[in-house]
């Protein structure tokens, strides 16, 4: 399935897609997007990279086994829900902080954001696990 064009183009395409997926993840709270859809985009990025250049470079680039990434996502998603216990409010209640980065400019941090990042990691990890495992099979 691997052609010269795809092999050359895949790393760039994949990088762009991952960046775009992070953009989609972060804008999700106010504009169309979010962790789930962002995760799907990143997963397709890795799938394309794998099809184009083989599974080994993808695994090297990921550093961790994708199922471990998914597990970590699950962990921080759970943590973001449990944090509400410290405030004595029900499980998964959203908590918000508005720290000032420089004077006059505020940003928003929240447990739903952490949760969404967790969702993103789970989706990326789980789908990439399946795709890479299948691509590897194919090559044997």
């Amino acid at each position: 399935m691997s052609t010269v064009i795809l092999r050359t183009f895949a790393p760039f395409l994949a990088s762009l897609m991952v960046i775009f997926s992070i953009f989609v993840l972060l804008r999700g709270h106010n504009e169309p997007g979010g962790g789930f859809i962002g995760g799907l985009i990143a997963a397709s990025a890795f799938a394309i990279y794998g099809i184009g250049c083989g599974v080994a470079p993808v695994r090297r680039a990921l550093l961790f086994h994708p199922i471990a990434i998914a597990g970590f996502g699950m962990f921080i998603a759970a943590l973001s829900g449990l944090l509400s216990a410290l405030q004595g409010v029900p499980l998964f209640t959203g908590l918000w902080w508005f720290p000032e980065i420089v004077s006059g400019v505020k940003t928003a941090l929240s447990t739903p954001l952490v949760f969404d990042i967790g969702v993103w990691l789970v989706v990326v990890g789980a789908i990439t696990t399946i795709a890479l495992a299948l691509e590897e099979e194919e090559r044997e």
């Binding site: 709270h29 859809i37 397709s44 994708p66 989706v123 099979e137």
Partner: protein
């Protein structure tokens, strides 16, 4: 009180570390806890014997009326004293018995956990608390029977005991909940004060379910088989759980509910019938055994049957006899088991045919064995004698007074006869256990026997001497223990005066003489009787123990059969069932309840909207005409993209976005899967099959269309939409309602969904790896040479290729 019950559990955590530090001497240290608890409970003797009852309550789940509540009356106090008192000696004994065992600390831990469970069981007031401790005793018993888990027989016995007693526990739970419903309270102490439930419409189910729990736990026929098998456990367990305490939980329960459920026709038929049958089964099967522990185990079965039979009469004097016998039995049987264990430990065998003449080598053990056996035989001046006297006094009294019903009169005499035969046979087996190994000529044993260390003989000696002291101080024993316990079991306050010697020569004394004479007569021909009984049992050949195995095999075969029908491994069959059921689920409620929707008029669409529809249609046609499977899958993607476009046009950008990605990834993954499956490139289905599958496909599609039409024709409820639109921004700081719902309002749902995604990923990974790890035998010669163990290890090694690539 809750602390007293929970303390053994707490100590169980530290028992292994303590054993590591002190070695087998940890037995002495650990025994301090039950000894302390024993002293704590002795503080209740004085007030309880003067008629007081104590209730301790801590709220647990108040919304369901479940409390961690305990109560102390004559019945629970005697049990608590037996559990802690005998428990202390058992811990010491276990210290000596398992000295040097690699898991000695674990054993102590299990024993302590059992002790806590058993204390909780007998002291529990709330019925749910009672049930939980009841099941805990089953579980800890399972751990203790299976302690020697490398042996097949131990594992089987452990599982068997757990299945039988755990199953009975479930019946008990149902019975207790019904009882709580019938009385309106969850507290046992309040239930008992509400009087007899005999007229309640739920009486029969309550009685049968509660007895189901009691009979399994106390090894009544036909559930008696698990108890002799449980002798696979180390001897301290047999002495403690399977004679003195746990198996008496069923008797405890029956005695506990006697005021509420007893004294009815059903009660006085079921209990004496099953108890009597168990008594006879126990003594006759016990007669044929040559293993000391098995002989004792069968007499324990018999004694439990006797106790159930006596309690079933609901007669005041007979219950008093049962109470006396229960205490006497715990003392002499616990002692005899420990003696059997000591003989096994010191002589290397517990086969009665290979033992003899140990009296000189093991004088203290012999003395303890003799005292216990004399009490078991019911000879004066031992406690067992008083128990038997009172028992006979009650039984003969009932039998001698005509009731006017011939059946009842005959039944009363049958009970007398059963009791006499049972007691005589117990004398035989008790004498055989206690005297055969010690008297006669010195037999050649695997180990050269000598007296055990103090840890091994102190328990049996103290328990056997207690059986003598309790009898010599009969008056005080009666006032302090027997009177309050009999009152608790019968439900009415009583006044009794206990003497060692009977005041006059009455029917009870005659029955006693008859029992002893009969027993000695059989004992004089013991060897002949044993082999004769063995031949009869061999001739019958089948027992519930074999039946248990047959039932288990039957269940497994049935499960395999059912699994084989549904999990036949043919993918097409799975798809037909899945989609067939989907079709029915969609269409049946629609056709039967809601009615088919009206067919809408063709809507007025823009040109580009028609274009999108045409695209979807083109995708479908392409699927239909595709030459290869690969083309078909990609063509299906076209149809999916068209749907995504429709979402986009109708103002659902998030949904559309997701649809695009899901569609893309589905095509990619399906393609990858397809390349791995060794399928023909083209569809090889014949026309009849294609038509059948096509019908199902069209049916499901049509059903979905109808359901969607039906849904859109309902009035639209906008309350939720309105709520989310209104609160999304001010409450959750987000303008994208869809995302706010996903990560904030319904975050728990999303959490569940990502769990599914993660598990699906793991499952796919495992499935793919598993396929890869099992190459056809022809491909790798190495795999054939490796033995099974190596193979198992390489199978379970996690994700090797991941490690390789990371490094």
């Amino acid at each position: 009180m809750a602390y007293a019950v929970l303390a053994p559990f707490f100590l169980a955590i530290f028992a292994p570390a303590l054993t590591q530090a002190l070695g087998h001497r940890a037995g002495w240290a650990l025994a301090a806890l039950p000894a302390g608890l024993f002293i704590y409970f002795t503080g209740f003797i004085e007030p309880v014997s003067s008629g007081e009852r104590f209730v301790f309550t801590a709220e647990w789940v108040p919304s369901y009326g479940v409390n961690l509540s305990f109560f102390v009356d004559g019945l629970s106090l005697v049990f608590a004293l037996l559990i802690t008192g005998i428990g202390a000696f058992i811990l010491i004994y276990a210290g000596g018995y398992l000295k040097g065992h690699e898991h000695h600390g674990r054993f102590f831990s299990f024993l302590l956990m059992f002790m806590g469970s058993m204390l909780g069981l007998v002291l529990a007031d709330n019925v749910i608390t009672l049930f939980i401790f009841w099941e805990l005793t089953s579980i800890t018993s399972f751990l203790l029977i299976g302690f020697d888990h490398r042996r097949e027989a131990s594992r089987r016995a452990a599982i068997q005991a757990l299945v039988v007693t755990g199953g009975g526990g479930l019946a008990l739970l149902a019975g207790l909940i019904l009882m709580a419903g019938a009385t309106g309270t969850m507290e046992m102490s309040e239930m008992l004060s509400l009087g007899n439930l005999g007229d309640n419409p739920l009486y029969v189910p309550i009685l049968l379910l509660v007895l189901g729990g009691a009979f399994t736990k106390s090894a009544q026929v036909p559930f008696h088989f698990w108890l002799p098998n449980a002798m696979e456990a180390p001897t301290p367990v047999s002495a403690y759980l399977h004679s003195a305490t746990m198996v008496k939980a069923g008797v405890y329960l029956v005695m506990r509910v006697q005021p509420a459920l007893g004294d009815t026709i059903l009660w006085s038929i079921i209990l004496p019938a099953f108890g009597g049958a168990t008594l006879l089964t126990g003594v006759f099967l016990g007669l044929r055994q040559t293993d000391l522990k098995l002989m004792l185990a069968y007499t324990t079965v018999a004694s439990l049957g006797l106790l159930i039979m006596l309690t079933g009469t609901s007669d005041l004097v007979i219950i008093e006899g049962a109470v006396l016998y229960l205490i006497a039995h715990s003392l002499f049987k616990g002692g005899l088991f420990m003696v059997a264990g000591t003989i096994d430990h010191e002589a290397g065998t517990r086969d009665i045919t290979r033992l003899g003449g140990l009296r000189a080598a093991m004088p203290l053990t012999f003395a303890a064995a003799a005292l216990c056996a004399l009490s078991m035989a019911g000879l004066p001046p031992f406690f067992g004698f008083i128990a038997k006297e009172i028992m006979y006094k009650g039984l003969s009294h009932v039998a001698l007074i005509p009731t006017g019903l011939p059946a009842a009169d005959i039944a009363a005499w049958v009970l007398v006869a059963v009791a006499v035969i049972g007691n005589a046979m117990m004398l035989v087996i008790g004498f055989a256990v206690a005297f055969k190994p010690f008297l006669g000529t010195r037999a050649d044993t695997p180990k050269s026997a000598h007296e055990g260390p103090v840890m091994l003989w102190i328990g049996p000696v103290v328990l056997s001497v207690l059986g003598l002291i309790a009898a010599l101080t009969a008056h005080e024993t009666g006032d302090l223990f027997i009177e309050p316990m009999t009152a608790a079991v019968s439900g009415v306050p009583i006044e009794l005066d206990l003497h060692l010697w009977p005041s006059k020569f009455d029917a009870a004394v005659m029955l006693s003489i008859l029992t002893i004479g009969l027993g000695l007569l059989i004992f004089s021909v013991y060897e002949t009787a044993r082999s004769g009984m063995g031949r009869i049992a061999d001739w019958v050949g089948w027992g519930p123990d074999k039946g248990f195995d047959q039932a288990v095999r039957g269940i497994i075969a049935f499960a395999e059969e059912v699994t084989g029908i549904f999990q036949h491994g043919e993918l097409r069959g799975y798809m037909i069932v899945t989609f067939g059921v989907t079709f029915l689920v969609l269409i049946v409620p629609l056709a039967m309840i809601d009615g088919l929707p009206a067919i809408p008029a063709i809507p007025d669409l823009f040109v580009y909207e028609w274009g999108v529809l045409a695209l979807a249609l083109a995708g479908l046609v392409a699927v239909f005409y595709a030459k290869t499977r690969l083309t078909a899958i990609i063509s299906l993607g076209i149809q999916g993209f068209a749907v995504a476009l429709i979402f986009l046009i109708f103002g659902a950008p998030d949904l559309s976005f997701t649809q695009f990605m899901v569609e893309t990834l589905s095509v990619v993954i399906l393609t990858l899967v397809l390349t791995r499956l060794s399928l023909a490139e083209t569809d090889t289905r014949g026309m009849p099959r294609a038509l059948g599958d096509g019908t199902i496909a069209i049916g499901v599609g049509a059903a979905f269309t109808l359901v969607l039409l039906s849904v859109t024709q309902q009035p639209l409820d906008l309350r939720l939409s309105a709520f989310f639109t209104e609160f999304s921004q001010p409450v959750a700081h987000g303008r994208n309602i869809v995302n706010v719902i996903l990560v904030d309002f319904r975050a728990l749902d999303t959490f569940g969904e990502i769990t599914v995604v993660l598990v699906a990923g793991l499952a796919c990974l495992a499935a793919i790896r598993l396929r890869k790890r099992r190459p056809p035998a022809a491909q790798s010669h190495g795999a054939e040479l490796r033995n099974d163990a190596d193979d198992a290890i390489s199978q379970t090694r996690p994700l090797p290729s991941a490690k390789e690539t990371v490094s």
